[in-house]
Symmetry: C2
Subunit: 216 residues, 2 copies
């Protein structure tokens, strides 16, 4: 259920999880009670992978939609990584991509104004959903509220609302009823200044298949 916490700042965690379905968010709470979401987690992600190398997490992870998770003891995962160095490499690489994503968020917050900021976030989420095969016909399940986007972008809910209206008015996206669809990928990408390279997709364009959401 939305709101359920799976990891809490300051509380040692002994297990990792993998998302089978649904969305989670990692967030920090400010002294004034406001929330800043610092990462979204989608199916296929391991939201608390970082805890494998941390005594005490510094942020909270909670479900923002109904979701189903698979769990694994940290100790088992740690042993597996030692026995199969390639697995360790893959997971380490995953951590590296998390750095890249977080840093691109910094760019968004520091340089892009509301419209591009939100557009960029939507591009990122759509691309990540695409990578795990959850996009059909330019639309994917996307169970986030405007409040969630507000907490993630640092914009007020009111402004998120107006910004989404602008994106809708320009016929770029549909957002609502738990769905996101991007009508004009190219224009949205240009507006967002979105370059997917920071996501470091594993096999870049392998098998000769081209990703229709991707431009050369």
């Amino acid at each position: 259920m939305a709101g359920v916490e799976i990891s809490h700042a300051g509380m040692r965690s002994l297990r990792c999880s993998i998302i089978l379905d649904g969305f989670l968010a990692t967030s920090k709470t400010m002294p004034n009670g406001k929330l800043q979401i610092i990462a979204f987690h989608i199916p296929g992600d391991m939201p608390d992978l970082l805890s494998l190398h941390l005594e005490v997490p510094d942020s909270d992870i909670r479900a923002i939609s109904d979701c189903t998770l698979a769990y694994m003891a940290n100790s088992d995962l740690y042993r597996l990584c030692n026995e199969h160095p390639r697995l360790g490499d893959v997971l380490w690489r995953d951590t590296v991509v998390e750095v890249a994503i977080a840093r691109e968020w910094i760019v968004s917050m520091g340089q892009r104004q509301a419209v591009s900021r939100i557009a960029h976030l939507l591009c990122e989420m759509m691309t990540r959903m695409k990578i795990v095969g959850r996009v059909f016909d330019g639309t994917c399940l996307f169970d986030l509220t405007q409040k969630n986007l507000s907490d993630a972008t640092g914009l007020s809910v009111v402004h998120v609302n107006r910004t989404l209206q602008e994106l809708r008015a320009r016929n770029l996206i549909s957002f609502g009823q738990g769905m996101l669809t991007i009508h004009d990928w190219d224009r949205l990408v240009r507006l967002a200044d979105f370059r997917s390279d920071y996501l470091h997709q594993q096999p870049p364009m392998s098998f000769g298949l081209r990703d229709p959401t991707e431009r050369p």
Copy 2:
């Protein structure tokens, strides 16, 4: 020399470096030419450690002061990590801390206004310098320009300037001539809402020694 580039977005890198002295910054350049600094690197850091697991870096790394570096071939480092799993763990953990730092920057940019934002950055840098033993009497070498702070915080140079003046006027810091000194750590921490836990200092308060910049 300041400005020298040691790694460029899109250019495959085959070696890692360790900073012996000086400051580097990782940054991305916007289409309009503006720069966003997404990480500062201080002595002891490995600024391009991420490239060990990435084919192609997505950002630039360059010196922002005179510095001296030590280099190491990626292949050698990779081999070492396999031969000594504990080394791999330490470096992986280092990557995890980079995630934590980047995410705390997100919090700063999303939630803190100029004064706290800059105060927070200064607290972070001072703490990191302290960890590597480069702080004496509350002051450390700090060769950043106001433009650098501007690029890192997403604030205009003008506003950074005014904000620093306010911090100085409140007798919290001295900044300039390549030095930073914090006069009233407690008040600055409170102003910045700085909690050092996200830096995950290795042995937290080990050996019974207390860090004077740190509060319980």
